[in-house]
Amino acid sequence: MSARRGAAALTAAAGWAVAAWLLWRTSVPSSVRLPRLDPHAFFGPAQLRAAASFSRVSGALWWGGTATELAALAVFARFGGRCARESAAGPVGTGMLLGMLGFALVWAVELPFGVAGLWWQRRHGIAHTGYLSYLFGDWAALGGEFVFLSFALAIVMGLARRLGRWWWAAAAPAFTALVVLFAFVGPYLLSTHRLGDASLAAAARRLEGRQGVGPVPVVVERVHDATSLPNAETSGLGPSRRIVLWDTLVDGRFGERELEVVVAHEIGHLAHEDIWRQVGWFALFAFPGTLLIGLATRRRGGMGEPAAVPLSLLVLVALQLAALPAQNAISRRIEAAADWSALDATRDPAAATTLFRRFVPTTLDEPSPGLLDYVFRESHPTIMQRLAMVRAWRSRRR
């Protein structure tokens, strides 16, 4: 029996590794070696000082918030089960209640860090959201999270009560299906408008042709009331696919050629089917993640019992933190491939260099952050890595 189990586990691990290898592949040529660049050659001392100072406090707040969240969940895992007496809802309903209470606790303990972060961003002109608006303006989203959390717990506990210890084998595909659903529906929930810049729209059509992507709407999202950060993203699946540019990107601070690099980068994501790739990675992490949650909660009767819910929240957050370095590494690889595609499509390394250089004063991102921040907090290649890629691309073209 144990030999069969061992063989099954090995087969599953091998399948996991093959899938991971397939998803890990990148369009960046393997021969590309990024040169080491000196930030001082690209940025003035004042810019570097400002970025370092901003990142130091942002990083401290992030670590403080994360540690507090873990501590709060540890306390909740220890004592949260007592709140079960406030329920007349049966095991699944009680589990949902405990889950929501745990989530509310996390929200409450993170609030001071969120407010401090907002204060820091406002101080640097990056955020424009008011404190009251921050505290009370987003109740709908918070309510949506409560609903989603209880829905997720209903799935997990329902499966655990039906399938026993094997609930995770059904839960992982169920959550992956939910991720696909949200990826598809997400763009329809965004309030956007058509891109007004006709020449950029024409450039987008041209770049789509070059990168082998069919026509995809390029839309603009209004965010300038909340932030001055420039950003863009690709979202959606199939007919809901679109490129979303924040209005802070097309407010005149960036030139036409720089914006073309941004659009080409997003088209690169579409060309590489990166949303599906991220879904694939989610599925790969979901299987071992749910299995580990199942194992960790067995001593409390398994995920079918409400008493296991507070502990499962702690395990979930701890696993997310543990997986963060790997997830950031994957994300950086995906972004690097999109950068490479953008360079191939625009053939404009000068514009790419200007764009990346402009990111430092506009986002206050550190061009070359410390190792810990890089591992845990950087989901994109650092500015210096992106500049190095431009240089590598240029040297290959020579």
Binding site: E86, G90, L101, F146
Partner: protein, 429 residues
């Protein structure tokens, strides 16, 4: 043990007396507002004088620790007169009231205490202390719409609110009295409760008494005859006033999954009720599976509302199962129903829906007040809980009527039906 029970042993000094026989003269009902004009002018003048008297009483009571007797008599007469006038206006009583506010002259009256010593602190902060009761009195005793303005954009002002209970009961009672020559007991009781509570608030505000107004409808209408038991009524532990502070604090977000589920369930319930309507119309009794399904829906609706509006403590289940929630609903089986009443059910339900809407506003105010108290004390006030119970019971009776679970019309009386063997929501041990 419980504040409400203590209150029960020690009745409120401002006591409502109802000797009304429900009979109404159609002529005076028809012209009620016009006939009240002299009183309205008189009360305006009296109110003008009362403002000065109240300020004088306030200052004197602060110094002496008790209101001066002459002013107390004057203010008591004012409270009594206003009670008579309110009762007349809201059709809670029929005779034309006198102008002096003399006691024992009117079928709906109040007993008021004499001038007694009061805590100076309670006198000093009387106005802010009275705010919660004023809010509830507005929801219960005001006439017509309570409006609040949420903002103004592009010259458009949005407003919302709910009809106050007494006004709503009076409007509906006006039609009923004209048609039948008698005020429906449920609407009369609802109006009487509102009038009584308003009198207690006024007496508290004008330093006639330092006892805080008691919103418990059962205590208020203690001497009024209880209606027959309705087939749809509340059951459960009437004294479960404990509230978990954590779940009170997060009551709204914790209710969200239930509200989403209730909305989804409502869609199916509407379809099921249409099918149930057709079946009941043809067979004269509802289809059993549909009746069962809709009973669960109505019960679930009650559980969710009780949780959301803090009438109960526990997080409810999602299936509307009978007997698992501390505040539950007794519902009849699929009994025979009148076909004409079935055919015109929606039309017939309109008055009940209006009363339910008015009570919904009171329920909201009650929930907001309970939220603060429960957060501070870890328990709900007995009076507020019973107001919530009244509103929830009526809402459940209306839903059951609309969804053809019963053809018994909702009873608007704040009093639960009298059946001694039954432990019901507002019965005290």
């Amino acid at each position: 043990m419980l504040s409400g029970m203590e209150a029960h042993r020690d009745p409120h000094p401002v006591r409502l007396l109802v000797r009304d026989d429900l009979h109404r003269r159609r002529l005076t009902v028809f012209f009620r507002l016009v006939l009240a004009i002299p009183h309205i002018l008189w009360v305006l003048l009296w109110t003008f004088l009362v403002v000065f008297a109240a300020v004088a009483t306030y200052l004197a009571a602060l110094v002496r620790g008790r209101p001066p007797a002459p002013l107390h008599v004057f203010l008591s007469a004012y409270v009594r007169y206003l009670t008579h006038l309110n009762a007349y206006l809201w059709l809670v009583a029929d005779p034309y009231p006198g102008f002096s506010g003399a006691g024992d002259e009117y079928p709906v009256d109040v007993e008021l205490p004499g001038p007694a010593a009061q805590s100076r602190w309670a006198i000093l902060f009387r106005l802010p202390l009275a705010i919660p009761s004023l809010l509830l009195a507005t929801a219960l005793g005001g006439g017509g719409q309570v409006r609040f303005f949420t903002g103004s954009t592009s010259r458009t002002t949005f407003s919302g609110g709910g009809g106050a209970l007494a006004g709503t009961a009076a409007v509906l009672g006006w039609f009923a009295s004209l048609a039948r020559g008698a005020m429906p007991k449920g609407l009369r009781d609802a109006g009487a409760y509102s009038v009584g509570y308003t009198a207690q608030v006024l007496a508290y505000l004008l330093l006639v008494t330092d006892r805080y107004p008691d919103s418990d409808p059962t205590a208020m209408l203690e001497e009024v005859e209880r209606p027959p038991v309705h087939p749809v009524h509340l059951v459960g532990d009437a004294h479960d006033l404990r509230r978990s502070r954590v779940t009170v604090l997060l009551r709204l977000p914790l209710s969200l999954p239930h509200l989403v589920w209730l909305a989804l369930w409502s869609v199916v319930a509407v379809l099921a009720s249409i099918a149930n309507w057709l079946v009941t119309l043809v067979r004269g009794r509802p289809a059993e599976p549909l009746h069962r399904f809709l009973s669960r829906f109505v019960r679930y609706q009650l559980h969710v509302s009780a949780f959301l509006y803090l009438a109960a403590n526990s997080f409810p289940g999602f299936a509307g199962v009978e007997g698992v929630y501390p505040l539950d609903l007794a519902l009849p089986g699929p009994e025979r129903q009148s076909r004409p009443r079935t055919g015109f059910r929606l039309l017939l339900a309109v008055p009940a829906l209006i009363v339910s809407g008015a009570l919904g506003w009171g329920l909201f105010v009650t929930a907001v007040l309970t939220w603060f108290v429960a957060l501070a004390r870890g328990r709900a006030p007995w009076g507020l809980r019973n107001v919530a119970g009244y509103a929830l019971r009526y809402s459940a009776q209306t839903s059951a009527y609309v969804l053809l679970l019963t053809d018994a019309y909702p009873h608007a009386s704040p009093l639960e039906g009298a059946e001694p063997s039954q432990l019901s929501f507002d019965e005290l041990e």
